[in-house]
């Protein structure tokens, strides 16, 4: 590898020739402030349009200040990151940006999580010298999931890059020019009318409050405090390894028991687990996998847990809508079972039972509002709040998870196998399915380490593997996360339908642990890996590792559903997809 030698703030450093000044400085632990720059996790794609000019530094023998994020290193370069000229320029740039930014930090959804605000703190801004016109664009609240307040847009283009280059969804674009420029949709149509999948990766990377989730927190508070309603909550697998971050727990550490205790303290009547319905998903999807492999029809089967990914295939691959599993996602299966089986069991009318989901995801909000998931006009899942929004509810109620004792989920929709925990990470759904497919197909359990399908684990964007589903019988599988990778895999399927027999797809790079509703990762790949490890540790902690061995799932089939894939199960737990 070719290297170059340079000096930054008087310190010599040798770095690969491909490095930027910013990367070289970071190697020396020299912090250069940035705003538009963003390394998109797990994709190798960086956003560095050098448009914000916050990272400018002085380089000797160079006339202009240089943006550190986009300036390649060169042999003998002498860089000063904190010369008076650089400091003054950065301050001017920041003040100009602030001069066209709403000064409503106290009421902004990004308050205390805003990178522009953080810069203003770090720079010690006390007065904005420049007074002038301020853009006032309309707020787009057209979708059920994502809100865009473009008056707050700083034109960093992070959202556009993640949408177009990482996810290949291509909903966002720089729109207009000059002072009126913003990141918009085609012809500035409402987001709900675009091919947006609501994956929420744009929400995760927006440095300011220009893109946030639509919040149902107020409605949840109202429901909890309505004596005529029974309010139950379900928690997605990935929430338990992320929520602790906001309360000082070690990054990625599972805090399941404390999460349950916190939710109970918020006033939910019952605290249940989406893990339960993840196990249920495996029963249905596992049965479907076995049927399709036996019949050879509609292969490869694609997982259908992720609503962002389902939106993506509905928009982009209408010719392949016969191959995703017809299973509803675990969130929707939970809602359907809660409003039928559980409502009946406790003698409450479905309309008086409020189902709240805590999800790592923005697309789940869209999914819950799909008309097909509201039989007789009663939604299966009433409200979705993200992990971040739940943290705010805890804070509002003065609940600090660090001070809670562990509690257990309620019965009967709370128990789960280890297989369910790993639904929150790329590879987990397929592994969970393989465990049960093997047992159901062969009438015997996997033994010892064979239960761990390590070939499908890890945070790589696309993984291909052969897995054994019966002694001596293997199938070819693929696992991918990130919609750009999903596009590549679907192109492979279009080219050769026989290449794979089963494929797991998740919209967010790394899976739900990096979902659009999770506490911000700020590009921290190590933190993402810790969340992954947290989920596998939850799996290993459990005595029951396979979904089909969950006794409450067995009881549900015995008491209510009948057979997996049977008529009642089909009616309640399966769905159809629509070309968009």
């Amino acid at each position: 590898m070719k290297t170059v030698n340079l000096t930054i703030n008087g310190k010599a450093v040798t770095v690969p020739a491909s490095y930027t000044v910013l990367e070289a400085a970071r190697q020396l632990n020299i912090n250069i402030p940035t705003l538009c720059y963003c390394a998109h996790l797990g994709s190798g794609v960086s956003n560095k349009p050098a448009s914000c000019r916050i990272c400018v530094v002085e380089i000797e023998k160079r006339r202009n200040l240089a943006p550190a994020c986009a300036t390649p290193v060169a042999e003998g370069m002498v860089v000063h990151t904190n010369s008076l000229r650089a400091l003054r320029a950065r301050r001017t740039v920041l003040e100009l940006m602030l001069s066209d930014h709403p000064q409503d930090c106290l009421t902004c959804p990004k308050n205390q999580h805003c990178e522009l605000q953080k810069l203003a703190v770090e720079f010690g801004i006390r007065d904005i010298e420049y007074k002038g016109e301020i853009n006032n664009f309309p707020v787009d609240e057209s979708s059920n999931a994502i809100m865009r307040d473009l008056s707050k847009c700083v034109m960093c283009r992070r959202c556009e890059t993640v949408c177009t280059k990482v996810q290949t969804v291509g909903t966002l674009t720089g729109y207009g020019r000059g002072f009126k420029a913003k990141v918009g949709t085609a012809s500035m149509i409402p987001l709900a009318d675009t091919s947006c999948t609501f994956c929420g990766q744009c929400v995760n990377v927006c440095p300011v409050g220009a893109i946030t989730g639509i919040s149902y927190v107020k409605k949840v508070w109202a429901a909890i405090n309505d004596p005529s309603k029974t309010v139950i909550v379900q928690t997605a697998p990935a929430v338990r390894v992320a929520v602790g971050q906001e309360f000082g727990f070690a990054p990625g550490a599972p805090v399941t028991g404390k999460l349950v205790a916190g939710l109970r303290a918020l006033g939910f009547d019952k605290v249940f687990d989406t893990n339960f319905s993840a196990d249920l998903t495996i029963m249905e999807e596992g049965t479907e996998i076995i049927e399709r492999i036996k019949s050879g029809k509609d292969l490869p089967i694609l997982t259908s847990c992720c609503p962002g990914w389902i939106n993506f295939i509905e928009h982009n691959f209408p010719d392949l809508l016969n191959i995703p599993s017809s299973c509803k996602s675990p969130q929707q299966m939970f809602g359907a079972i809660a409003k039928s089986y559980y409502a009946e069991k406790i003698g409450v009318k479905p309309e008086d039972l409020i189902v709240v989901s805590v999800m790592p995801c923005q697309a789940k909000k869209y999914e819950a509002a799909r008309p097909e998931f509201a039989p007789n006009g009663v939604r299966d899942v009433d409200y979705v709040v993200t992990t971040r929004e739940l943290c705010r509810m805890f804070n509002e109620a003065g609940i600090n998870l660090a001070n809670m004792d562990d509690e257990e989920y309620d019965s009967p929709l709370g128990a789960s196998a280890g297989a369910a925990d790993i639904f929150g990470v790329t590879g987990g759904v397929l592994e969970a399915a393989c465990r049960s497919v093997y047992a159901l197909l062969n009438g015997k359990e996997l033994e010892g380490d064979a239960i761990n399908f390590r070939a499908v684990r890890g945070l790589d964007g696309i993984k291909e593997a052969k897995v054994e589903i019966a002694p001596g019988k293997t199938i070819n599988v693929a696992v991918c996360s990130g919609l750009g990778n999903a596009r590549k895999v679907l192109e492979m399927v279009r080219a050769d339908k026989n290449r794979f027999q089963a494929i797991e797809i998740m919209a967010c790079p790394g899976g739900c642990i990096n979902g659009g509703g999770q506490p911000f990762l700020h590009g921290d790949a190590e933190l993402l890996e810790k969340r992954m490890k947290g989920l596998y540790s939850e799996d290993e902690r459990k005595v029951i590792r396979c979904s089909h061995n969950n006794p409450d799932i067995q009881a549900l089939y015995k008491e209510f559903l009948g057979e997996p894939g049977g008529e009642k199960a089909h009616h309640l737990l399966h769905t159809k997809y629509h070309s968009k």
Binding site: T164, G170, T171, L172, T173, G174, Y175, G176, R177, G184, T185, A186, S187, I189, T194
Partner: protein, 172 residues
């Protein structure tokens, strides 16, 4: 350079003309560099259709294997491209430095007053005229300059501009 045709009139022939133009470019739909052809295609499309409504942008996006957002971003960036239909006669007044100094602003206000429409909005009610304010058209020696459907008129005064427009009005 607008040619002031309505989208609906002879749409099939117009799309065929655009297709024929795009075919001559031999665009490789999987080549990253195909975006470089976009402006050229949009120019042609606007020449053919007179303006670039969403429908045309979607069509171009599909023809070049780009997203609608990518096309829309480019259309919104350049003042030259318009998403609104234009009048039969497009009156462009240059507001570049030389023309401005020589009084083109007075020419523009007089035209706006006489025709009863503001620059860069919608056409006159009879559909005959629309006015645009342009940046330098590169004819500074003739400042102030106005153009009607691409024909250049130099050294115009407010009175002369009205005369020119009236000539076109007579032709209908």
């Amino acid at each position: 350079m607008c040619c002031c045709k309505k989208l609906s009139e002879g749409a099939a022939e117009k799309f065929a003309e655009l297709d024929a133009f795009i075919d001559t470019l031999n665009v490789d739909l999987n080549d990253e560099r195909r975006r470089g052809r976009l402006i050229q295609v949009l120019h042609k499309a606007q020449e053919i259709f007179g303006y670039l409504p969403r429908e045309i942008q979607q069509y171009v996006a599909q023809k070049l294997n780009l997203t609608e957002a990518q096309v829309s971003g480019v259309v919104s960036f350049y003042n030259y491209f318009t998403t609104e239909p234009k009048g039969k006669y497009c009156v462009d007044v240059c507001m570049g430095t030389a023309c401005y100094v020589k009084g083109s602003e007075k020419v523009l206000s007089e035209l706006e007053r006489v025709l009863g429409v503001k620059a860069d909005t919608h056409p006159t009610e009879d559909g005959l005229f629309s006015i645009s304010a342009l940046r330098c058209v590169g004819a500074c020696g003739l400042a102030p300059v106005m153009m009607v459907n691409g024909k250049v008129y130099g050294k115009v005064t407010p009175a002369k501009a009205v005369e020119i427009v009236n000539e076109y009005k007579k032709q209908g």
